[in-house]
Amino acid sequence: MAEKKGKYTTVSIPVTLYNRIKKLIEGTGFTSVSQYVTYVLREVVAEHEQASQEEPFTEEDKERIIEKLRKLGYI
């Protein structure tokens, strides 16, 4: 699927949910339903992405690093 261009796009949510969110954000720092939905989705997406990430270095790298840390007196 082609990547969307531009700054914003439209996603449909049920009107009932929209109304609940609208009520929920009254008196909070959120100024629109879109702002709230973006906030919540970013939080959820980040959690999923975090869970699926790999170690950032190999065992060989690790051995080399441990050697350096020993020489510097950190371990």
Partner: protein
């Protein structure tokens, strides 16, 4: 578990072995661009992953997105534009897609694939990043003095500027291994450009009460006139840690990174960088990364609320003071006594005392720390 790298992958663009040899050879053949120490330090931060997920200087769509929305074009939070500025004459004859060699002090330091050359509005940049165009702001003054064009593109590091603090310099891969070796799962990072006073020590220990370890992470790099010199900060922290912290709960590591004095935006930037070093928590104090009275004392705290996907937990700890009635350090949240009992631990006042060669009282600064500073004839950046 230590934090995952920002944007999902820890960048490592340090060329070694044969690849480095080949790139060094190429550096002698392609167009050359000389950079100063600040850009050289940016290159280190990119190459060693402190600025992950950046793999180079920002291209235009990322630059505009960071400037306007505090996010990279792919929606990853990023608040400070990391850009390479050039004069048109310096890159005459260079086209997008070309490789150029970045030289520091007469030696090749990096190869860069020029992805884009574009103009920028420095006043607008200043307004959005620093929230002011006042030239008395050190970040604004620096921005307005920069060159007319920006060059974006991926880099490979082939050399490094001399490092006077080799023995305390650790990069993200190293701190990550170190934290694992120590068995730390939660790490609070403390950003500093100051010699520690009792207020700093208080917030560090407050964080340590619920994390496994503390990363004390002073910035080594360009600072404004009147700030403490790097060597003074490092030595002062060594004295504090040796005398007032249990063994093996603190890692002191210098971070070669430039200060921007961009207040709230820079506070978020500092948190992102520490996440790349593996920290799970980041201490955000009063007027973090601020200067003068350009930012509200706790303005940075509000900005963090705009980033639910930051991936590192900010620890908002109020400024500590000494309470004569409590008989110790306290904050608004922990002390019920009226202002006449409270003594503010003012960094400015401490600096003035030290400048006059006076030892600050013990409730302001540990004697071992003051001793370190006082042994320097001039402990401040000129």
């Amino acid at each position: 578990m230590v934090s995952r790298p920002h944007g999902g992958r820890l960048v490592y663009r340090v060329a070694t072995g044969r690849r480095r040899e080949a790139l060094l050879e190429e550096a002698r053949e392609v167009p050359r661009l000389d950079v100063g120490l600040e850009r050289a330090i940016d290159l280190l931060d990119i190459a060693y992953g402190a600025f992950s997920p950046l793999e180079g200087f920002l291209i235009q769509e990322d630059y505009i997105s960071v400037l306007e929305d505090m996010r990279l074009h792919d929606d990853t939070p990023w608040t400070i534009p990391i850009v390479l500025d050039v004069d048109p004459a310096e890159i005459a004859g260079v086209s997008e897609g070309d490789d150029i060699a970045l030289f520091y002090n007469g030696e090749p330091i990096a190869l860069m694939r020029v992805e884009e050359i574009y103009g920028w509005d420095k006043k607008r940049h200043a307004q959005l990043v620093y929230k002011t165009v006042d030239v008395n702001h050190p970040g604004v003054a620096k921005t307005l003095a920069r060159k007319e064009l920006l060059v974006g593109g991926r880099i490979d590091l082939v050399g490094e500027p001399p490092n006077p603090f080799e023995e305390v310099t650790l990069w993200p891969r190293e701190t990550r291994v170190l934290f694992r070796e120590r068995g730390w799962k939660t790490i609070a990072a403390f950003q500093t450009r100051n010699v520690p006073h009792r207020g700093h020590e208080f917030v560090q220990k407050a964080a340590l009460t619920f994390t496994d370890g503390l990363l004390v992470h002073p910035l080594l790099g360009w600072k404004k006139k009147g700030d403490y010199k790097d060597e003074v900060i490092i030595e002062a922290y060594k004295a504090l840690i040796a005398n007032y912290f249990p063994k093996n709960v603190v890692v002191l590591a210098g971070l070669r990174m430039n200060m921007h004095y961009a207040g709230p935006r820079e506070a978020v930037h500092h948190a992102i960088v520490r996440k790349n070093f593996g920290a799970t928590h980041f201490i955000v104090g009063r007027d973090h990364a601020g200067v003068g009275d350009y930012y509200g004392p706790y303005e940075a705290w509000d900005l963090f609320n705009e980033f639910p996907d930051l991936g590192i937990t900010p620890l908002f700890i109020r400024e500590a003071f000494y309470c004569k009635k409590c008989g110790g350090m306290a904050t608004e949240k922990t002390c019920p006594h009226p202002p006449e009992y409270r003594i503010k631990i003012s960094g400015t006042r401490i600096r003035e005392m030290l400048r006059r060669g006076e030892r600050p009282p013990e409730y302001m600064m540990r004697p071992e720390v003051a001793e370190v500073v006082l042994k320097y004839s001039n402990p401040f950046v000129e």
